[in-house]
Symmetry: C2
Subunit: 361 residues, 2 copies
Amino acid sequence: MRRLDVNLGARGYPVLIGAGLLGDADDWAPQLGTRSLIVTSETVAGLYVDRVREALGKHPHAVHVLPDGDSAKSLDHVERIVSAALDAGVARDGTFIALGGGAVGDVTGFAAAVYQRGVGYIQAPTTLLAQLDSAVGGKTAVNHPLGKNLVGAFHQPRCVITDVDTLKTLPPRELRAGLAEAIKYALLEGESLFDRLDAMMPRLLEAEPEATTELVHRCCSIKARFVEHDETDHGERALLNLGHSFGHAIESAYAGKLLHGEAVAIGCVMAASLSRALGWLEPGLFGRIEGVFRAAGLPVGLPAPAPAAAEIIERMQRDKKVTDGVLKLVLLHRLGQAELTGDYPYAALVLTVREFVEAAG
Amino acid sequence: MRRLDVNLGARGYPVLIGAGLLGDADDWAPQLGTRSLIVTSETVAGLYVDRVREALGKHPHAVHVLPDGDSAKSLDHVERIVSAALDAGVARDGTFIALGGGAVGDVTGFAAAVYQRGVGYIQAPTTLLAQLDSAVGGKTAVNHPLGKNLVGAFHQPRCVITDVDTLKTLPPRELRAGLAEAIKYALLEGESLFDRLDAMMPRLLEAEPEATTELVHRCCSIKARFVEHDETDHGERALLNLGHSFGHAIESAYAGKLLHGEAVAIGCVMAASLSRALGWLEPGLFGRIEGVFRAAGLPVGLPAPAPAAAEIIERMQRDKKVTDGVLKLVLLHRLGQAELTGDYPYAALVLTVREFVEAAG
């Protein structure tokens, strides 16, 4: 087992990463309140909820099951989680446990943030994407009919319990989608992680526990550093959105046909392409970036039929990173050197989106 | 104009109290972000929204109107406020303005807490209850089908702009309901405020601006002290709930027939009655407490037809102050000396509720 700590003073917490952690009572015991509500999704409930319930032992708890997928991220489901918590008698000193992927973590964390004005929660991520990214950092949210993650809160978990064994049951497509965020971290971090990721790729695609534990530990360590410096995302934490302004717009324009990680992969390639078009990107890097996404089995262009370029751009304009009408993007100079900037020609952004739409045929 | 400051470091803010403040551009200008959304209720919109819009002048803003009353405090209305903010182009550096009574302040503050994971907001309370109590302290919430204020957040406003002139259009019943919270503050604070309140009562019942400004300033100062010591309500701030465990249960059991302040008045008298039954209350004080509520034109007993005692008690058990099955109540010893305690005989609580139900006939 590896451990790292997110150092946020009174809001700090440990991240435990390893094989078999879900079933280990010693991981759970220190962080539980008086009474807990396990919130999970249908598929994960069938696979892992009994293991967690056994590990909780006599600790009083109840289980609430959400539908699979992003549809669980709604205010309606927040209301249902609150009902379940009330029925289970969870009080202000109780705890929510988010057992599942990113959607379960986001909605459960948000429900914990607002239930009786805030209770503690534990992240127990079961997808690679959630393990190496979303379970750490306290960003919680639900979607709004007009866009993703528009309603949310910063609410740090009490701890993160990451059992890499759960990846053995993860569909390969979702595993690859998780690798997209790992590649994003490598783009931000620099050559060393980029090369290591490249070297470990075959083992990662097999969900080999040792390689995965190392990768999750490295990505979470990077994220923890960003979060420690900028907990509420008013500064450098924004760099973590590399590929996400494009990615969110693409993900919503494709209306469920692309996984978040797949959209982020395409988004990172588009950000790199725009960076290259602006003459900012180190020569030769664009090909290496495309190459590593391909090696992970991820898309590097828009699937046909593509939405209209205007639609993608309009969706990008609704991004939370829009200030005074200017959309700030994370653009790349070289591995380990990214920049959040609104100082690029708007026409270049439009051209990049058009190129990708046209390439989709 | 009087001013007081809530000292919470980076989250601190001023409370401005006086006549005519809504129309004064100088009060508004310093606290506005890039773009604002005024959230108000139907009746208040008709009376005051133009005054505020004129004061905002060229500052870009939009208006969203909620229904009157507590029905606005729902997740559904949060979603609509979010839609209105998105339509108006309010970004993370924007501001919500809560123009109205306690319900408008609670739901708007909560919407501000969760919109794009948090934007600033201004409280502009237009009822006495909101002015002397709920606009200060950062408690925001919406209701849940299973109970009041079960979904919420601690989110401090950027400032509070309290125009006591708005009380001139407040229905007398609502003015009296506001005085219930003022009396509660006097019970917590001691003889000096209790006597002053008693002496000013005729002027307060006329909404006389000078008397009201003094009262609001004193009540907000008391509240600010509690909030400064216990921002997230884990300790002494709970004393502010004097009369509220009873009051919330009564308010919901009467399903809209009682105003919050009326329920709090009855709740304070019930808390005093239980305190007396336990032998805790200073002799003679019960009559004085009943007397001041009566002088304010408030109920001191349950109106007929009363709900069953069991229903009231069951609703009290769902209170947020329940820990390990024990309902903590704020009970009184003397003016200025209250105590949050679960250390009372449960039978005495049941008996007090029964007495009040039977007295209703």
